[in-house]
């Protein structure tokens, strides 16, 4: 695309803008606001509401500025009498069939129709006829969506966003002319992402939030800018409370890289904060196994005693990669400097080596690419995870950008995903064979083009046919992808958490990136991560081998596996978990239960009574997202400030307060700090955090060479018995980590654990969506309802890792790269 500039006049004022700019945007740049309804930046142009009509010199008719690009020397008028009269007329038309029921409308006070009528509208209505009514009572479309078609202004934003961005297309414009209604199939309940984008884009009160219904008026609300706590996309959102209750999360178009986009978790998962089940005071386990409330002073004393008693080598700590950077930074500082221990980690699910390799391969330590940079590349490759479910908003962004630009999207994943339908090619890989797949791709690349890269000779001995056999992707498909990559001007690669979980593919990916850098040159890499501040945790040095800013630690500590092993051997004196439910997440349930039961003193600080907390000696309450200040770093390396929307109820502390006071209690020289103080320290220590003005910066930390990547390249397909399923685990579209199960709203979307299989498997087993099946692991069996996922091959199953009591890790074994399960149709009751 050429990047020419165009100069034109708007209301006599000269402006120069990029070629292809819409008149609407050019006018905005010149300082003239043009009212709109149907226009929406990230949707296809429609030009139907006619609010934005302007006069253009030499043109007989008024023109829609929202779909008309600028032309050189054009002279546009946006404030003439004709234009003003037209705006007023369009509003009069829109009001003619509008019920004017503002007093009982949830949108009152933040309604675009209200606002525009106030600014541009007629002062008096002339319409005296019966209005078209689509229905009497509002109707419910989903646990989160309620609809009133009578208020609709037919801007089609809902229909377009659902199709073009969310990729569902479950809303349609039904009926013709004034009878047109944007709704679901026969107004039935929606089976969709429940992301609420239709609500967010609706300019009036036609699509509304069911949970927020009649709860508040905008002026009753106190709001704070935050970041969603549910995945690594790290969507910017504004949390709003009325009184002490958080009632809404919204995304502001002008604020945050995600513009208006949020997924169901982000938009509706806020109510975890209001949960009655929260831990509200420190609790000490009695001899009889029950918990008794104690004071914070006493709790900190106990913690201090136990840390000192255990000694540096026998103390360990694991934090959730969802805390703020300040908390994470302080945690490692406390552990290293006060407790003297490097036995720290920010995950329960993978090894320190695995994360080192991933960090090195994806260049997390060296800056990063924005999701937009990736999405706008000529060829976009998604591998190593189920992007649509793990990182829904990343999926939305990729979809609408690749949809609008028509660039090539390629997906390699063991499971089917919604984004498949936007891809030119989507291949299914055998689970835990990303490495073999990428190696095959490398073979195919060098077949076509000679590249002299250090380390390339290792792949000489490999055969593309064998690799194809291992990863299950046909040689033709591999060659097709390679050809696309070589003919691209830029390549974007999104690499997901499977690489971490299965410790598979990072080295090959690193080599692929090197090769592409030598051929295509413009290579943009984006890791997609399933924890909101995973990248921050690494940047902050919550890693047994890495200090803040990716500096090598003088002394390597134990990673989660080492810590569990030490505990299992009876050698762990004190384990401090913050926000991390290791019992529910560690990929070997039997082992972790046994190991935790042997820990001398187990302290769990968390917002809820987690599986781990139940096993703890001491439980501390924990403030969650929306209740703390600081910064978070998303998967792109974008550092965003968060503000608390409220103080938690009860005697709940933030991790930051807890750690500074504990540190100070043990060592008087450890200062009691606020998050701002800590951030200043981070700025000294971690490159890329120096320059944060306003609410965000986009750089991330950087340092070179955290790990040496030498691909071993010996591959074998993981073993699976006939009729067995490889089991994948991870976040669900409606659930993130272990927190979301406490959101009443999200629980309505998915209330219990499920097992997801492909259609072929379901047919083979003779089961339908919703039927209960028996899932059997090595020594654990559960009955779970089936969900069918289109595009997932037979032999692959998925269980979300988000449910207490039905934890996916009960099926997992540490000694296997990937565990298998048997699945059988369950006998129906009474049979």
């Amino acid at each position: 695309m050429s990047m020419g500039l165009v100069t034109l006049k708007i209301n006599g004022k000269e402006v120069t803008v990029k070629e292809g700019t819409l008149i609407l945007d050019a006018a905005k740049e010149a300082g003239f606001d043009i009212p709109t309804f149907c226009y929406q930046a990230n949707l296809s142009g429609l030009g139907s509401c006619r609010m934005c009509l302007v006069e253009i010199e030499g043109q007989r008719k008024l023109q829609p500025s929202c779909i008309t690009p600028v032309m050189p020397d054009m002279s546009v008028f946006t404030e003439t009498e004709t234009v003003k009269r037209t705006r007023s007329a369009m509003l009069e038309f829109l009001l003619s069939n509008h019920p004017l029921d503002c007093p009982v409308c949830d949108k009152g006070g933040e309604c675009e129709l209200q606002d525009l009528v106030y600014k541009h509208g007629p002062r008096k209505g002339r319409f005296a006829e019966d209005k078209v009514r689509h229905h009497d009572k509002d109707y419910i479309l989903s646990p989160v969506i309620v609809k009133n078609a009578n208020r609709c202004v037919q801007c089609m934003r809902c229909v377009r966003v659902c199709k073009e961005v969310v990729g569902r297309g479950v809303l349609g414009a039904v009926g013709r002319g004034v009878h047109q209604e944007e709704t679901s199939f026969l107004r039935t309940r929606l089976d969709c992402d429940h992301c609420g984008m239709c609500i967010e884009v609706c300019p009036v009160g036609s699509f509304m939030r069911l949970p927020y219904r009649y709860k508040a008026r905008p002026w009753d609300l106190v709001s704070a800018k935050s970041v969603c706590g549910y995945c690594g996309t790290g969507c910017r959102l504004t949390l709003e409370r009325r009184g002490d209750t958080v009632v809404r999360a919204i995304a502001h178009p002008e604020d945050g890289f995600n513009r208006k986009l949020l997924c169901a978790r982000g938009r509706f998962g806020y109510d975890v904060m209001n949960s009655e089940e929260r831990v509200k005071t420190p609790l000490l386990k009695e001899r009889d196994g029950t918990f008794k409330p104690i004071s914070w002073d006493r709790a900190l004393e106990l913690l201090k005693e136990n840390i000192l008693r255990a000694g540096a080598e026998r103390t360990a700590g694991i934090v959730s990669a969802t805390l703020t950077n300040e908390e994470l930074y302080l945690f490692q500082k406390f552990m290293r400097e006060v407790a003297g221990s490097s036995n720290i980690d920010a995950t329960s699910r993978w090894s320190a080596e695995s994360s080192l390799r991933f960090i090195e391969a994806t260049g997390i330590n060296g800056g990063g690419s924005s999701v937009y940079g990736c999405a706008e590349s000529d060829v976009v490759v998604v591998l190593g995870g189920q992007l649509s479910e793990e990182n829904p908003v990343t999926d939305y962004i990729i979809r609408y950008i690749t949809g609008a630009r028509r660039n090539t999207l390629v997906i390699a994943s063991p499971r089917g995903m919604k984004l498949d339908s936007s891809a030119q090619l989507s291949v299914r890989t055998v689970p835990a064979t990303t490495g073999a797949f990428v190696a095959a791709l490398l073979k195919a690349l060098v077949e076509k083009k000679d590249v002299a890269i250090e380390g390339m000779d290792v792949i000489k001995g490999l055969s593309i046919d064998e690799l194809s056999g291992v990863c299950g992707v046909s040689v033709d498909d591999i060659r097709w992808i390679a050809a696309r990559l070589l003919s691209a001007g830029s390549v974007g690669i999104l690499a997901g958490p499977d690489l971490l979980k299965h410790d598979d593919g990072s080295e090959e990916l690193a080599l692929l990136i090197e090769v592409l850098k030598a051929t295509v040159r413009d290579v943009r890499v984006l890791p997609f991560l399933d924890r909101a501040n995973q990248r921050g945790a690494w940047d902050m040095g919550v890693h047994p081998y890495l200090k803040p800013g990716y500096r090598e630690a003088e002394k390597k500590g134990l990673d989660v596996h080492g810590i569990v092993e030490l505990a299992e051997s009876g050698g762990l004196g004190c384990l401090y978990l913050i926000g991390e439910d290791i019992a529910g997440l560690y990929p070997d349930r039997a082992l972790i239960e046994s190991a935790l039961s042997k820990v001398g003193f187990l302290v769990v600080q968390d917002s809820f009574m987690t599986e781990s907390a139940r096993m703890a000696h001491l439980v501390l309450p924990l403030a969650m997202y929306g209740e703390r200040a600081g910064t978070m770093t998303n998967q792109e390396g974008r550092v965003q400030r968060v503000e608390p929307v409220r103080k938690p109820e009860g005697d709940v502390w933030t991790a930051l307060d807890t750690i500074t006071r504990l540190g100070n209690l043990i060592d008087k020289s450890f200062p009691v700090q606020k998050s701002g103080d800590v951030f200043r320290e981070i700025q000294q220590q971690v490159a890329g955090y120096g320059d944060i003005r306003g609410m965000e910066s986009f750089k991330g930390a950087s340092a070179e060479g955290v790990a040496e990547l030498k691909p071993a390249f010996n591959y074998g397909a993981p073993e699976r018995g006939a009729e067995e399923f490889w089991l994948l685990t991870g976040n669900h579209l409606f659930h993130g980590a272990r927190l979301s199960q406490h959101s009443g709203i999200l629980k309505e979307l998915l209330g219990e654990c499920v097992v997801e299989i492909g259609r072929a498997a379901a047919e083979r087993l003779g089961v339908a969506e919703g039927d209960v099946v028996e899932v059997e692991g090595d020594d654990y069996m559960d009955r779970l309802p089936v969900r069918i996922r289109e595009g997932t091959p037979d032999g692959v199953a998925f269980i979300p890792e988000n449910f207490d009591g039905r934890d996916a890790n009960r099926f997992l074994r540490k000694d296997r790269v990937i565990s298998t399960v048997k699945i059988r149709a369950s006998k129906k009751q009474g049979e």
Partner: protein, 417 residues
């Protein structure tokens, strides 16, 4: 004037390929297939043929916008014939389907299309069947399909049936409809000539337009250009309906005065009553009265007096006609057919209808005429496609000439007539 479009109208058996061939059918196609596409386009330009679908756009010029080197192009024949008062295309399709098919083949060859769709309104079941049969015959005889007449040119012609939506006569709505969507117009640009059906270069032409082509090829561009006025020449089918003695289709030279059409060809007003008003080109065209009857029926002459030739559907109303009722029927039509996409048309036509309806039902209010005029001003020129403009032109036409009848209705709660 020798008839070329309706020469077989009403003739038993005329629709078969044998009958068509015996009258020299498909000779034009044969001739054309030996010519350079550019030369055909030039010939059509020289003929002065302007689109018979309503807008009167020069056909040859439209074709010349099609990029020559595009690998995939389409021709769409607009057989939606939805404009009230229009029934000419149906006449051609029922009695002379091969004339149209030959025209389609000529046009497709000229623009380089390998696929053509005939978009026919759903109600025309009989005509669609006739077309389908004729297409099969043409395939059998090698006038369609692969390698036509050994020239290397291939063409497939398909019938796509609409299913009840006037708006699908609008060319981009027609494309949406073929693609399987609701028939709502697309934004322009890009124009169909660059990005039409399936995003490929596409020409959309009316049935009558395409049916003129064989005669142009056979008789020459000069012959065509010599008929009727210089700027809009050729034969034209006028469909006369309403209060005349002999309603029906009349193929006459473009520019034939309205008076001649009504009084000579259509036999004059029924029961020898007085003429009150006449709509010259489908209901979107503003109506004319007695003193305008000498206007030549061609694009420019009618535009000059503030009306339009449109589809050439002439609706005659005698002195017994209540103009408020006529206006109500027309407004009811537009509000029923408004596709719902843009605000002024969707809401505006419905509002207009409701006001005219209440006047018609004896519930009119003082100020209603002014309100109608004001709303017309707010709709006109602001809609997404010309449908909304059509509604306004029609209503303005009636208001302009019969305002007192509206006032009478409002005051006396009943008809003047």
């Amino acid at each position: 004037m020798e008839k070329v479009l309706l020469k077989n109208f009403g003739k038993e058996g005329a629709h078969t390929i044998d009958s068509y061939l015996s009258g020299g059918g498909y000779e034009a196609l044969k001739k054309v297939l030996g010519m350079e596409p550019e030369d055909i386009i030039q010939m059509v330009k020289d003929s002065g043929l302007r689109g018979r679908g309503g807008a009167g756009f020069p056909t040859g010029l439209k074709w010349s916008f099609i990029p020559k080197d595009a690998p995939e192009k389409y021709l769409c024949c607009n057989a939606d014939e939805g404009e009230p008062g229009t029934f000419k295309d149906r006449g051609i399709m029922e009695y002379d389907p091969h004339l149209l098919i030959e025209g389609i083949a000529i046009a497709s060859y000229a623009i380089g299309a390998q696929k053509a769709y005939i978009y026919i309104r759903g109600e025309f079941v009989f005509a669609a069947r006739r077309l389908q049969e004729a297409i099969m015959e043409a395939y059998e005889k090698g006038f369609l399909g692969e390698n036509i007449l050994g020239t290397g040119f291939s063409l497939d012609v398909y019938v796509h049936r609409g299913f009840g939506a006037y708006i699908c006569g609008e060319e981009t709505a027609l494309l949406e409809s073929i693609e399987g969507y609701r028939g709502q117009p697309r934004k322009k640009p890009p124009f169909p000539a660059l990005s039409g059906l399936y995003g490929k270069p596409t020409v959309i032409n009316n049935v009558e337009t395409l049916s003129c082509l064989p005669a142009i090829v056979n008789k020459g561009a000069e012959w065509f250009a010599s008929i009727g006025p210089e700027k809009s020449p050729g034969p034209k089918i006028f469909g006369v309906s309403g209060h005349v003695k002999k309603p029906g289709l009349y193929e006459l030279p473009m520019g034939t005065p309205l008076r001649e059409i009504i009084y000579e060809h259509a036999g004059g007003i029924r029961d020898n009553r007085k003429l009150k008003a006449v709509i010259p080109g489908g209901v979107s065209a503003p109506l004319l009265t007695e003193e305008e009857l000498d206007t030549p029926m061609d694009f420019d002459s009618l535009a000059k007096i503030g009306s339009m030739l449109g589809s050439g559907g002439v609706i005659v109303m005698d002195e017994t006609t209540c103009m408020v009722k006529a206006a109500y029927i027309i407004m009811r039509f537009f509000s029923h057919e408004s596709c719902g996409k843009c605000t002024p048309c969707r809401e505006g036509t419905t509002w207009l209808k409701k006001i005219v309806q209440r006047i018609e039902y004896g519930k009119g209010r003082q100020g209603d005429v002014e309100l109608l005029e004001s709303l017309c001003g707010n709709i006109f020129g602001r809609t997404f496609c010309p449908l909304g403009d059509g509604a306004v032109m029609a209503l303005r036409g009636v208001l302009k000439k019969f305002k007192e009848e509206f006032q009478y209705h409002i005051e006396h709660k009943r008809c003047m007539v």
